[in-house]
């Protein structure tokens, strides 16, 4: 058995109600590390091309990584992957909290879910005891009630639950898997897949030790990591506000998506900012398992129409999604929007996109009030926003049109609305306007799960360190957010760094944003935890392998360079004059794409991987398959 790993893979067949436990293959561990890496390997191997995401043949993969369960800060996450019913391509999402570590303590590195249960069930994993339990009484309950009932039923408050809410049951295509009430693996409709499988939740309890190969070395490395964390210049801001600090920061930069990305400055930003939240409703800081960077928060609204609302959260994505994006100026209303999404089990980014999309169509006269069930779709109408969340959850009336995501909604509505559907590959973007953030723009365009910021997070472009830009990415412009040169290499680097984070299942805030570990230090950590003698280059190769395998998967699904694009708004419509330092910007994507494919060693014309690159990364079998399908030629 390998140190650091649980050592087992659980395969559950819901159709037959059977399961098997397989040992973790050591080769898989070394080549893919864990988490997202494990999932991508299985996804490619076990999901046939062009499979419908809602088909019972679709499979779900839940994985953790080698640092999960240790005291490494933020190593608390799990990835859930499947064919996406929302985008039709690779589906993948991850979440923090306490579920991932508990899975590791139960002895599992990966859980594979196959088939479809004849009736609603939930899976209970208690170390080696695996049970499919009746969930008919849970069907129809939201995420919070589901967790409450399961904890009562299993009579153990240390059970960790990952559940779907009502949205997933109702077939909303952007439903997520929610752990610890609010820890959402919400992107690409992974909850929708779970709902289609009649799997209401996974409950897990583990009491096996997580052992590391060299405790003394690990303790020594942790000392350095702790001091790097505590002395980091961002530490105080993260402990106070976490990602909610971005409302103010992006607004200052003129990149805060406002009224559906029509401008980059929100006039009421300071009344919905992370700073304001911390001063008013925040009760205390909260953390994921074993993390000393308490970037989350518990809040309670004491006054006004939403008095009594209390929850952990929100992150920037939800906070800005239900404020600037839809024009809402009341912090409590925004928190209520996030809370509803958490309880129903829906992605806050997609939900706020479809609502702001509808509001823009209304503003432009493309849809009328009567088409929207009589709702007044004016910007900032809190009642409309909250009603629409509810209608989407129930797939009722106008909500039903929005419940398949913005690409589908525009297809159903037609009348030129497609131009206003802001998504890449069927996945909606978060609230950072790419026009003022060129590397982020490129990252959105090429991300393997569609329009997404967490596949790269190329924060280097804020550094304004020209010398470092030249040295690390071949051009001084790489260090400036409004410039283009070098961004292809920046995004390549950050994609791999993000993949490292997702394979270790440690938090990107720590690894990618605060830059706490690099490849050589990761190699040392893996030596201490697993016992491997690895070089920094070998670790990086794992990350590059994962990114390439994802590209292979999507290539097999039929994607090409044409799909690596951005909505027309970002490439043709300059940010208006009130967007401060970003005013007048559009994204000139094509030159950045050329640079990116070049940096990746992929085919510039098609955007597909080359056989030589794949073989270099040990993906010869995959290269051959793409060649046999006529998708690549070398």
């Amino acid at each position: 058995m390998l140190y650091g790993y649980g050592g087992k893979v659980l395969r559950v067949n819901l159709t037959s109600g059977t399961f098997s436990v397989e040992p973790l293959e050591q080769e898989l561990a070394r080549l893919y590390l864990g988490g997202r890496g494990f999932n991508m390997r299985r996804l490619y191997d076990e999901i046939p091309a062009r499979l419908d995401g809602l088909s019972p043949e679709n499979k779900m993969f839940f994985s953790v990584g080698p640092l999960v369960g240790t005291m490494f800060p933020g190593a608390a996450r799990f990835n859930v992957s499947a064919k996406s019913p929302q985008t039709g391509i690779l589906g993948d999402s991850n979440a923090g909290g306490f579920f991932g570590p508990e899975l590791k303590f139960a002895g599992f590195d990966q859980v594979i879910i196959e088939g479809k249960a004849p009736e609603p069930v939930y899976l209970y994993i208690h170390n080696d005891k695996i049970e499919l339990r009746d969930a008919k009484h849970l069907w129809g309950l939201d995420v919070w009630d589901t967790q409450r009932v399961i904890l009562q039923e299993l009579k153990d408050r240390r059970v960790q639950v990952a559940a779907i809410g009502t949205a997933a049951e109702n077939g909303v295509r952007f439903a997520g898997v929610f752990a610890n009430l609010v820890r959402a693996a919400a992107r690409t409709g992974m909850g929708t897949v779970m709902g289609a499988k009649n799997l209401k939740a996974i409950a897990v309890r583990g009491t096996n030790p997580v052992r590391v190969a060299n405790p003394a070395l690990f303790a020594e490395l942790m000392k350095d990591i702790d001091s790097a964390v505590y002395s980091h210049r961002e530490y105080p801001g993260r402990a106070l506000m976490g990602t909610t600090k971005l409302v103010h920061a992006l607004n200052e930069a003129g990149c805060l998506a406002t009224r559906h990305f029509q401008t980059g400055r929100f006039e009421a930003a300071e009344s919905v900012s992370g700073e304001f939240l911390a001063e008013t409703v925040k009760k205390k800081s909260k953390s994921c398992f074993g993390c000393v960077i308490p970037c989350s928060r518990f809040f309670e609204v004491k006054q006004g129409p939403f008095a009594g609302l209390k929850s952990e959260g929100p992150e920037f994505e939800g906070l800005a999604g239900f404020s600037s994006r839809v024009g809402v100026t009341d912090l409590a209303a925004s928190l209520k929007g996030v809370d509803l999404c958490n309880r129903y089990g829906m992605d806050v980014i997609t939900t706020s996109e479809v609502i702001s999309f509808a509001m823009e169509l209304y503003q432009r006269g493309i849809i009328s009030q009567s088409e929207a069930d009589g709702l007044d779709l004016s910007w900032g109408n809190t009642a409309t926003v909250l009603t629409l969340i509810d209608k989407i959850n129930r797939r009722e009336g106008f909500g039903d049109i929005l419940a398949d995501g913005v690409r589908e909604a525009a297809r159903k509505i037609g009348r030129g609305s497609e131009e206003y559907a802001l998504h890449v590959k069927g996945l909606e973007l978060f609230q950072a306007d790419p026009r003022g953030l060129k590397a982020y723009a490129l990252g959105y365009a090429v991300a393997s799960r569609g329009g997404d910021h967490l596949r790269s997070e190329p924060s280097f472009e804020f550094s304004e360190d020209a010398e470092a830009g030249q040295r690390m990415y071949g051009h001084a412009d790489a260090a400036f957010r409004l410039k283009y040169k070098g961004k292809g290499r920046v995004v390549k680097h950050y994609e791999e760094w993000s993949a490292l984070s997702d394979c270790l299942e440690a938090c990107k805030n720590t690894i990618v944003n605060m830059e706490i570990i690099d490849y050589p230090l990761t190699a040392k950590l893996l030596k201490a935890v697993v016992g491997w003698e690895m070089s920094g280059e070998e670790v990086q190769a794992v990350c590059e392998r994962v990114v390439n395998l994802e590209r292979v998967f999507n290539t097999r699904e039929g994607l090409t360079r044409e799909n690596d694009t951005l909505p027309k708004r970002f490439t043709h419509e300059p940010l208006p004059a009130d967007s401060g330092p970003s005013a007048g910007s559009v994204v000139e994507l094509e030159p950045m794409l050329d640079e990116y494919y070049q940096a990746r060693g992929w085919d510039i014309t098609t955007g597909r991987p080359t056989g030589s690159k794949l073989r270099e990364l040990g993906l010869a079998k995959e290269a051959l398959e793409l060649k046999e399908r006529g998708l690549i030629h070398d």
Binding site: P209, P215, A239, E275, S296
Partner: protein, 259 residues
């Protein structure tokens, strides 16, 4: 019998009497003596009065909380006037001076685990630090500190031995398997005597005695240098004496804006 001097150590709230820091009165035998021109608050006096005869007497009982109790608070919730009760000896006698010094040393409370659940993030880093230090691997079930969580209400409660003065667990143990560490004052288990009856866990008012394989696991303060505290980012766990600056631990940054 000792005489006592009762000194206002700190005024945390607002006292309109007013009592001021440094004000004092003395208890000599059966009399209360207030210095000329000074006064004593009725609220505070009513709260402290029963304590004086006890504090005047020499007590030498194992586990007694009284010798280490020095501070009392005025019951006026707005006032929060903190009083310190000192024993005073007859200045003319050298022997008594020596006794006083020893008594002061002895009466200083032992440093203990201080828990502030209002700032606990619920991360359970303390559990990991504890099991790693004690066992060399990570497992909450081995930890002597455990965090109980109520996610819906945002409540996080670190359950760890507080080294109570009058430790009920020690009293409850029918086998005499629990005792005080002479230096750290931590509760130490004599595993050979323990029969695993869990009477100690039932007696613990903080729910801080955890069980693993029929044996209690109790915080031993890591011999006086608790390791969990190194991993507590907010100061929810600290080590020291209540009302004094912590010997170890504290918030690494401001965790909440505005006050």
């Amino acid at each position: 019998m000792f005489d006592l001097r009762v000194v206002v150590e700190e005024v945390r709230g607002f006292c309109d009497l007013p009592m001021r820091s440094g004000d004092y009165f003395e208890v000599r035998g059966g009399r209360i003596i207030v210095p000329e021109g000074k006064h004593i608050c009725l609220w505070a006096l009513s709260a402290m009065l029963p304590m004086f005869p006890a504090k005047q007497r020499k007590i030498d009982e194992e586990n007694d909380w009284l010798p280490s109790t020095q501070h009392m608070c005025c019951p006026d919730p707005n006032g929060m006037v903190i009083y310190r009760i000192d024993r005073i000896a007859d200045d003319s006698s050298n022997t008594q001076q020596a006794v006083k010094k020893v008594e002061q040393e002895r009466n200083k409370p032992f440093p203990r685990m201080l828990v502030d659940e209002k700032v606990c993030t619920g991360c359970r880093s303390c559990e990991l630090a504890c099991s790693f230090h004690k066992k060399g691997f990570f497992l909450a079930e081995e930890a002597r500190v455990r965090v109980m969580k109520d996610e819906e209400n945002g409540l996080d409660r670190p359950q760890v031995c507080r080294q109570c003065g009058n430790a009920r667990c020690v009293q409850a143990c029918p086998e005499g398997a629990l005792e005080r560490h002479p230096e750290t004052h931590a509760i130490i288990l004599n595993a050979e005597l323990c029969v695993g009856c869990a009477a100690c866990a039932e007696a613990c008012p903080f729910g801080s005695i955890h069980f693993k394989e029929q044996q209690p696991v109790i915080c031993d303060l890591c011999g006086g240098d608790p390791r969990c505290i190194e991993r507590c980012a907010t100061g929810a766990l600290r080590f020291g004496r209540a009302g004094e600056a912590a010997l170890k631990g504290g918030a690494r940054a401001v965790m909440k804006g505005g006050q």
